[in-house]
C-alpha cells in the first residue's frame, strides 16, 4: 500500500468514525428525550441535543469542503469568519465615526486575509502580520481622520479585538491546509479535521467532567458551568484521545499528538471564557440567532478561534 492510499484510508477512517459517533449521539439524545422519566435533568438533555445538532452542521461543512477541495474549504471558513465578525461588531457599541473604518475591516482586511491564506504557505510572511500590524495601524488612523475623539482608544481596541479573534485567529484553521509536511504524502485536510474534532471533543469532555465531579467553578460571574475539575479531566481525556488518533496526524510520536491535543483543549477553554466575559459585559446570552436555539456562529467557534493559532504553530514547530 503506498502512502497516498494510506492517507485516503485514514481520512475515510476519521470522517467515518466521527459520522458513527454523531449518529450514536443523535440516537442517544432522541432516546433520552422520549423517555422523559429517566431522572435526568431535561435541560441537560436539551443542551446535549443542541450540541449534537451543531456538530452535525460542523461535520457536514467540513466533509463537504473535504470533497470539493482546499479552495472551497478556505472560502467556507472565510464566510464563517465574516459572519462571526458581524456578530461581534453588532454587539460592540461603535459610533458613526467608526463607519468608514468598519467598512474597510469588513470588505478589505477580512477577505484579504483569507485570500492570502488560500494562496498558500508562500504568503505566511504576509498573512501572519496583515492584521496585527497593518490593520492595527489602519483602524485608529481611519477613526482619527473621521474626527470623532470620544472614547477613541476604547473604540479602536474593540474593533481590533474583533478582527484578531474572529478573523486572524480563525484563519489559522484553514491555514493548516497550506502546510506541507516534508518527506511524506500527508494530506493536510486530515490535519484540519483532526484539529476540529479534538477541540470539539475537548469542549465536550470538559462539559461531562464538570458535570460529574465539578466542585470549584473557575469564575462564577463569567461562566457558571466551567470548573477546574472539568478542565483537568477534559484535558487529560482529550490527550488520551489525541494519542489514540495519532495515526491521523503528521506527528512522529503519540505523546506529541497528546501534548498538542492537551494544549488545544486548554486554549479552547480560554477562548470560551474570554467570549463569555464579553457576552456578560454586553448583557446577552448568545452572540446571535444564526440558527434558532443554537446561539450565533461566534458561540460555536470561540474555542476554535483561540486554539487554531497555537495548534498551527505547534504543528509547524514539530513537523516542518
Amino acid at each position: 500500500m503506498n502512502l497516498l492510499q494510506r492517507t485516503d484510508a485514514y481520512a475515510l477512517g476519521l470522517v467515518g468514525g466521527v459520522l458513527i459517533l454523531l449518529a450514536t449521539g443523535t440516537a442517544v439524545g432522541q432516546l433520552l428525550t422520549r423517555r422523559a422519566g429517566s431522572g435526568l435533568d431535561p435541560s441537560l438533555i436539551r443542551a446535549f441535543n443542541l450540541r449534537v445538532r451543531a456538530w452535525w452542521l460542523m461535520w457536514s461543512v467540513l466533509a463537504a469542503a473535504f470533497l470539493i477541495g482546499e479552495t472551497a474549504t478556505v472560502v467556507v471558513f472565510g464566510a464563517i469568519s465574516f459572519w462571526a465578525l458581524r456578530e461581534f461588531i453588532t454587539l460592540t457599541p461603535t459610533r458613526p465615526g467608526d463607519h468608514r473604518a468598519l467598512f474597510w475591516v469588513f470588505f478589505l482586511f477580512t477577505p484579504l486575509q483569507f485570500v492570502l491564506v488560500g494562496i498558500g504557505y508562500s504568503q505566511y510572511g504576509l498573512y501572519s502580520i496583515l492584521i496585527p500590524v497593518y490593520a492595527f495601524l489602519f483602524i485608529p488612523a481611519r477613526i482619527a481622520i473621521s474626527g470623532d475623539y470620544e472614547r477613541f482608544l476604547e473604540r479602536a481596541a474593540k474593533i481590533q479585538a474583533g478582527l484578531i479573534i474572529c478573523v486572524y485567529c480563525f484563519s489559522y484553521a484553514p491555514a493548516l491546509l497550506t502546510l506541507t509536511i516534508p518527506d511524506t504524502d500527508y494530506d493536510t485536510q486530515l490535519l484540519l479535521f483532526f484539529f476540529v474534532v479534538i477541540v470539539q471533543f475537548g469542549d465536550l469532555a470538559q462539559f461531562v467532567w464538570g458535570r460529574l465531579l465539578g466542585r470549584h467553578v473557575i469564575a462564577s460571574n463569567i461562566n457558571a458551568s466551567r470548573t477546574w475539575e472539568g478542565l483537568a479531566g477534559g484535558t487529560l481525556t482529550t490527550m488520551v484521545v489525541g494519542a489514540l488518533l495519532w495515526w491521523a496526524t503528521p506527528f512522529e510520536q503519540p505523546f506529541l499528538a497528546a501534548a498538542v491535543s492537551g494544549v488545544s483543549t486548554v486554549m479552547g477553554c480560554a477562548g470560551a471564557m474570554t467570549m463569555s466575559a464579553i457576552k456578560r459585559d454586553r448583557g446577552v446570552k448568545d452572540y446571535g440567532e444564526f440558527i434558532v436555539g443554537h446561539g450565533g456562529v461566534l458561540d460555536r467557534i470561540d474555542s476554535l478561534c483561540f486554539a487554531a493559532p497555537v495548534f498551527f504553530h505547534l504543528t509547524r514547530f514539530f513537523c516542518l
Partner: protein, 261 residues
Amino acid sequence: MLRPQHPQGSAERRCTTIRAKRADYATPSGRSTIGDRRETIRSSARKRARVTNFICHRNMQITASTLAGAARLISGASVRWIDCEPDSCQRVYFANHTSHLDALVIWASLPHEIRSLTRPVAAKDYWDRGPLRRHLALDVFRALLIDRRAIKVHNSPVDQMVRAMGDTYSLIVFPEGSRSPGTEIQTFKSGLFHLCKRRPDLELVPVHIDNMNRVLPRGEFLPVPLLSCITFGPPIWLEANETKQAFLERARASVVRLKDQ
C-alpha cells in the same frame, strides 16, 4: 435586542382580545363587526393579488425576490412578530426612521405574499434620483414617492396615500418625516392622524428597526454589514374622539415600547 420570541400562544390570545375589543367598539348598533369587514376586505385583497401577480411582469417578480433576499442578507435582519401576525388585511406599518434602507428592509422582512400587497411610502428627492433608484422604487417595490418640497393642499400626501392604498394595498410609512439624527425617536408628523381620519378601518402596526442606523448612517453611501432587528408590534387604531396630539403620542409610544421588548 436579541431576546427570545414570545410564546406563540400568548401572542395569539392577546391579538384575539384586541380584536374582540375592537369589534365591541365598532358595533354599537349591531352592524357588521370589524372582524367581518376585515374578512371581506381580505378575500377581495386576495382576489386582486392574484390578478396583480398574473399581470405583473415575471422579471419584476424575480428582481423583487432577489432584492428582498439581498436586503435581508445585507441587513442580517432577524424579524420578530410580537402580539401580531402577518396578515393580508389593509394595514399601515409605521416605523422609526434611521437609514435610507429602512423601507426596503421592512418590505423585505414581510412574507412573500404580503410583500406583494405592501407599498412603502418614500421620499421622492432620494428615490427619484438616477435611473436605477427610480426603477427599483417604481417598478420593483412599487413605492409611493412623495415630493417633500412641493406639498400642495389639493393633492396632499394623505390624498396620495389613500389613493395608492385603494382597497387592496398596505403602506409602510415613517411618521418622523425624516431620518432621526440620534437614537432617540422624534415626534411624529400629523400625516398618520389624517390618514386614519380618512380610513379609520386601517390596522396600524408599529414597527421598530434596531441597528439600521449603524448599517447605513446618515451621510454614508457604503453599508457595513451589521445585524439588525425588525420588531412588529400589536396593532393600534384611532379611537373615537381621540385628539391629534394624544393619538400621535400614543403611536410614538407604541414604537418606543418595542425597543425594550
